[in-house]
Amino acid sequence: MSLATQQQDEMWRRVAIVAPYLWLLVFFLAPFAIIFKISLADPIIAQPPFTPTFDETGSLKASVDSFTFILTDKFYAITYMRSVLMAAAATIMCLALGFPMAYGIARSNPSTRSLLLLLIVLPFWISFLLRVYAWMGLMNNYGVINNFLMWLGAIDEPIQMMYTDFAVLIGLAYSYLPFMILPLYASLERMDLDLVDAAQDLGASRSRAFWDITWPLAKPGIIAGCLLVLIPAMGEYVIPYLLGGPESLLIGRVLFDEFFVNRDWPLASAVAIILLLLLVVPIVLLQRHQARDQEEAV
């Protein structure tokens, strides 16, 4: 290979690496910087509805009022807490439902396996919004579930399911279940079945073998699946809006209201930044943990 083509190759390799980073820079980091800038401004009734970062004299005009407001008003702390708890509950529910499903798919014979995987991703072919609406029809006071239970005679009057935290939890768990199953499936499918047999052969009961072998080897899939559910569930807006009650506020809803109802962009931006920090901290901790695990393994 000549030097020129080698240099050309090198150039293309750089382009291939630089391009996605450029994308992230332009469409993630830059908007984030703008949001951060807005969060340090004060709200005004104008267009745009916040004060400029630099005044006419060119001196920096930043205020942390929005942040102090969020940190001092208990309302926000409670809403963040509720969002974290709701997302965590949905994640645990997805894991509890998804693990046996992923395990079953990974252990099924190859011909049915692809069909089962198809069934997992099939709901994505229907609009997310429609599927959430379908749950409204199911959980309504005179919806399918209540009607069925009343027909059975199990209940005399409808159970209030819609507009409760329960409905939000069901909606979240339902919507994000595939994101849990797919990474779990990927890590379980790779696993050598002989390993579980070997553990049993050496004296481990079935459940012991599961906790000693299957669970730790599925850990990368469990972590990936949990993050894929937890992160979007934290900021979820549509599901709590459609299925949740007016008083059961989650942070996604608050964010929307601050932006579009109160038109307090600096406060809304501050809410978004704190949400991001809440998500970034556990991810960074987790990555450090994984990096350490990997170092130990080498």
Binding site: D194, L195, A198, Q200, D201, L202, I213
Partner: protein, 363 residues
């Protein structure tokens, strides 16, 4: 004790498929026993039934007098070395080897002591803290062996123990396995498709096909005295000649074979009748090839032509075409050092063998 492991009338069905078909087998204590067969012959299913991963559809399995037919794998006094070695990838060497002892709730210092002893036995002492992905194939095999032996099982099951190793390593490991077995006195049951492996390793071999045992015996018995066509053909190379019995003598028979073109003598160990169709089988190394007609009179002697030849260093292989068109394989030792070949293509030659070299096969 001859019946340390006692398999009686064991069958295993998967749906309609009979993986193991009503087999009986007794294995003595301290024996190194091999089950040899091609893929899908049922050998692995039989091994998994001994380990407890499969429950027989019918029949009983006893180990050291205890009925283990329906016993869970973790309750059996049996350990297994898997074909894939099944080393736990998230545990280091010492953790892998000590796993069985930890499950038995043995105290830590005791585990440490026994792991050290075991690693010494398989010569891996300095690799204690290594992770499985840092081990070579041979080292992985030793870890698997150490892990399976540490609980001092009454029986060690080995599923294709050497299949994953390259040829040189395989030969060395064979002898190591035999030494370890000899030292510990544990009964080994090996499943393999590799006849060479079975022959060198084991005291006795069971040849298996379609869920049944075709023959059980020492390597020598199986090689020199195969009882049927399957075993004769499966173990090593053999020339088979179709023939019809013409005379039945006291301890030898006369057989006319179209393929050879004359009547030949064989030692009749089995009960045959005049007119019965049988096969005469002769191993390639039992056949002599010469340019002159050999003087030996009671031997079988046929003329043919060299169709093909191959020089392998220690020996040469010849394919001799008889008048009937039948190809006979002959293997001859290259005792003398010489650059010129003893035989060339198209040479007219005589092939001969002694009557007692031939095996009479009825089915």
């Amino acid at each position: 004790m001859k019946d340390f492991i006692c398999i009686e009338g064991v069958s295993k069905l998967f749906g309609d498929f009979k993986a193991v078909d009503n087999v009986d087998l007794e294995i003595g204590q301290g024996e190194l026993f091999s089950i040899l067969g091609g893929s899908g012959c049922g050998k692995t299913t039989l091994l998994r039934m001994l380990a407890g991963f499969e429950i027989p559809s019918s029949g009983t399995i006893k180990i050291d007098g205890v009925d283990v037919t329906n016993m869970a794998p973790y309750d059996r006094p049996v350990n297994m070395m898997f074909q894939s070695y099944a080393i736990f990838p998230h545990m280091n060497v010492a953790k892998n080897v000590g796993y069985g002892l930890r499950k038995d709730g043995i105290a830590k210092p005791e585990i440490k002591k026994r792991v050290d002893q075991m690693l010494e036995l398989v010569q891996l002492s300095e690799l204690e803290t290594r992770n499985p992905n840092q081990l070579s194939g041979g080292q992985t095999q030793r870890v698997a062996l150490a892990r399976a032996l540490i609980k001092q099982p009454k029986v060690l099951l080995l599923d294709e123990p050497l299949a994953a190793l390259d040829k040189k390593l395989r030969e060395r490991t064979q002898f190591e396995l035999m030494n370890i077995q000899d030292e510990l006195g544990i009964t080994f049951v090996v499943v393999t498709h590799d006849q060479e492996e079975a022959m060198t390793l084991s005291g006795r071999i069971a040849v298996m096909d379609e869920g049944r045992f075709e023959q059980i015996g020492t390597p020598k018995e199986i090689y020199e005295f195969p009882t049927n066509r399957f075993v004769a053909d499966f173990i090593g190379t053999i020339n088979m000649f179709e023939g019809i019995v013409t005379v039945v003598g006291e301890n030898q028979i006369q057989v006319y074979s179209d393929e050879i073109g004359e009547t030949l003598t064989a030692l009749g160990r089995q009960l045959v009748e005049v007119g019965q169709e049988i096969d005469i089988a002769v191993r390639p190394e039992k056949i002599f090839v010469s340019k002159e007609k050999p003087a030996d009179e009671d031997g079988v002697c046929v003329q043919g032509m060299v169709d093909d030849l191959g020089y392998l260093g220690n020996r040469s292989l010849y394919r001799i075409r008889l008048k009937s068109g039948k190809i006979v394989q002959v293997s001859s030792q290259n005792r003398r050092r010489s650059v010129t070949r003893f035989l060339e293509w198209e040479d007219k030659v005589w092939i001969s063998w002694r009557p007692r070299s031939a095996v009479v096969l009825l089915d």
